[in-house]
Symmetry: C2
Subunit: 434 residues, 2 copies
């Protein structure tokens, strides 16, 4: 007995053309077992209705979900003031349990806006792993690592990464994966980066790192290292890790782009965060024209300030058109591919998610298009998903065949309880901060 989506619009993404088919899709167990027409209803739970549309779930390639706790606390501030007067003082007060509650809040928001997979970086990642385990979302988790110079602390960070791998890597048939997470080149020295690379190579895991987020980062690297962040990472061998997810990548030289292409580095593009922190706009149209693989990410809620991939992919497309003064840049379909199969490639899981295809994991979302902004209903659904839709139109989110949200209700998170827990944390943290 499975879920049968019946007579429904389907964007499979498994095509080079912007096609929407009308048909049936059957989910059995954790997999898509059949896509076709006239699949018999048998004993399946049938999901049908007028103007419904099913597509692969969104893949958020860069997040810090627990930072949901810092949403709306310090906006419109210069980056360093933001970090030193707002973010760091609060973060230093967060307990392991707080990180867990923050992850639940962030994951709730992601499921409600159609994200089925996310890549995360933060502290106390075993708590984010626990949240993924319980909630059922597909989570790729990386311990954000910063070199402190304190031998004991630095050694502990590496140990924690190994423990995180032992505990969570490949949990639930690969629904959870672990990556090494050196925060950035300016927060890690060469030896510490190499130590993390050694673990990644030995344990066969990916590396998740912030690169070229700001122009200053590039200027500093040229000044202190004599090269760009990307060529520095290349030099020390980090780009030869099993796979690398480099987030932001706003300022890549032509030579950087060549390296990124040759080493098959995946980029996590965070358009809203890059705008909001005043970092700039990455010319991902240019990168993509060179054959570089780009996915989309939200970054944390403190610098966005939401975790809504639908919102994010609309920004991605419109910004490329505006930046390149080219209305044809990054079409709706290309953008939709970036947010699904593109993200799956970046996370090295494109053999199982990112498309709707027989044998693939059933990670999918459903839109209810009975809203004024979807009319005329006759016109391109792909255009309307990218340029007109709102996350509130999403009425079903499924991961590995399990429904995590239906009709805007979460099935695995008690929201009211989470709200109360969040308020309790804020009360305590603000008090300590006084």
């Amino acid at each position: 007995m499975g879920y049968l989506f019946k007579n429904i619009s389907i964007i499979t993404i498994d095509s080079n053309k912007p096609e929407v088919i009308i048909g049936d899709l059957l989910v059995e167990g954790s997999k898509i077992s059949k896509i076709g027409t006239k699949i018999p209803k048998s004993a399946h739970k049938v999901i049908e209705g007028k103007n419904l549309l099913v597509m692969p779930g969104f893949i958020n390639t860069h997040a810090h979900v627990s930072m949901s706790l810092l949403r709306g606390y310090g906006d419109d501030l210069e980056l360093f003031e933001w970090l030193s007067s707002r973010i760091w003082p609060i973060e230093s007060k967060l307990t392991k349990k707080d990180v867990y509650i923050g992850a639940k809040l962030g994951i709730a928001e992601m499921i409600l806006s159609g994200t089925t997979t996310f890549l995360d970086m933060y502290q106390d990642m075993e708590m984010v792993g626990k949240a993924c385990q319980e909630i059922g979302i597909r989570g790729h988790i990386s311990r954000g690592t910063i070199y402190t110079g304190n031998e004991k602390l630095d050694h502990a960070a590496l140990l924690q990464l190994e423990e995180l791998i032992d505990q969570y890597h490949n949990y639930d048939d690969g629904r959870i994966k672990v990556l090494a997470g050196p925060h950035a080149i300016y927060t890690n020295n060469k030896e510490f980066l190499k130590a993390q690379l050694e673990i990644a190579n030995r344990r066969n895991i990916g590396v998740n790192i912030h690169v070229s987020e700001t122009e200053k980062e590039n200027e500093d690297a040229l000044l202190t290292l004599g090269k760009t962040p990307i060529s520095y990472l290349d030099e020390i061998g980090l780009l030869d890790a099993p796979y690398v997810v480099a987030s932001h990548m706003v300022y890549l030289t032509e030579e950087d782009q060549l390296i990124v292409k040759n080493k098959n580095i995946g980029i996590a593009h965070n358009p809203k965060s890059n705008l909001k922190l005043g970092s700039g706009i990455a010319n991902i149209q240019k990168y993509r024209n060179k054959g570089i693989n780009v996915g989309i990410g939200t970054d944390g809620a403190a610098s966005n300030n939401n975790l809504d991939m639908l919102n994010e992919l609309q920004y991605a497309s419109l910004l490329q058109k505006g930046l390149n003064r080219d209305a044809t840049a990054l079409s709706a379909f290309e953008t939709l591919k970036m947010a699904t199969i593109g993200g799956a490639k970046v996370l090295n899981i494109n053999d199982r998610v990112g498309m709707l295809k027989e044998g693939y994991d059933a990670d999918l979302i459903m839109f209810d298009m009975n809203q004024p902004h979807f009319y005329p209903i006759e016109n391109s659904h792909i255009s309307k998903i990218v340029y007109s839709a709102k996350s509130s139109d999403i009425v079903l989110t499924m991961v590995k065949g399990k429904i995590l949200m239906r009709n805007r209700d979460l099935t695995t998170i008690d929201l009211e309880k989470t709200y109360k827990e969040v308020s309790k944390i804020m009360e305590r943290v603000y008090k300590e901060n006084d």
Copy 2:
């Protein structure tokens, strides 16, 4: 008997500080009669609840609502191809009734996303007037006028403007206003612009015009007229009309900005449309620093592709931060002011809407903040409205004391009927287009 909003978060916008007060707000008839605390419930209809927030409705300073009919029909195309192969062929087939149905569709979407006032430009504007009349939204309407060289047609266009004024200007105590709507300098010659200006001056109405939308428009003006569009309009006296709303204004020279400031011209900034058509990004932070008044607009749904002001104001803020590489640019509160009182100033109605204030018209919206993206609920509501909120959080839209939407249901538009009428139009138009 009125509507009493009780123990509610209120952003009045009537303050230079980003304040959210907790209190009561009483609407009697079409006006806000009292804002305070402990207003007796008397015989009023009481609206209360946990985590509700009331603020002024959004003012959309640039729209072509009936173009909702063209949503998703021709995206990702170069501007001229878009116009000639998609927009114009369809538009030439639209009847007066089609324009009326398109207006209903667009207005439905606007009410659902918190817009209480809009400025529109299109053909057959008496049909948009009729839609506003029936639905109850505040509509400022302008007949988009293009010089044809055919004396009869051009004369008729001027007559139609006069008739539109006779029929709709100041309808329902000023809820509907009429403006002259010369489309642009490149679609009107000097004499025709002056003829429209003469009507504006004689009838004491505003002028709504597209200016400096693309770099090409400026280059062409310099080539053919020897001056920028703004200095040309200044020279022929158009900027001395009772008031002028200039939309887009992406490419203003320093001298243009001086003229705009001195002549007190209001700018309608359309960030999403300017991106989507590849026009560019207006540096409105710079304009605002010079004391120029800027409002926000959505443009038409064919070049956006929705009419969601909440979405639009988020773009406005984030783009200024990214463009100017300055995280402090266009703060959440400044952006919220632009979308409310700023827009009211642009439309010359800031003595009655754009703020919540005793004696002002009751044009307001209410958010239900019980959503993950509003948590922690303890942090700034203003930040969350601008950077995190979604239009689906809006649960009440009121214009002149009349509720047009409550709990996502429209009170004055039959949506199902409108959808059917839209489908009928598309069926016919596409057939004729074959």
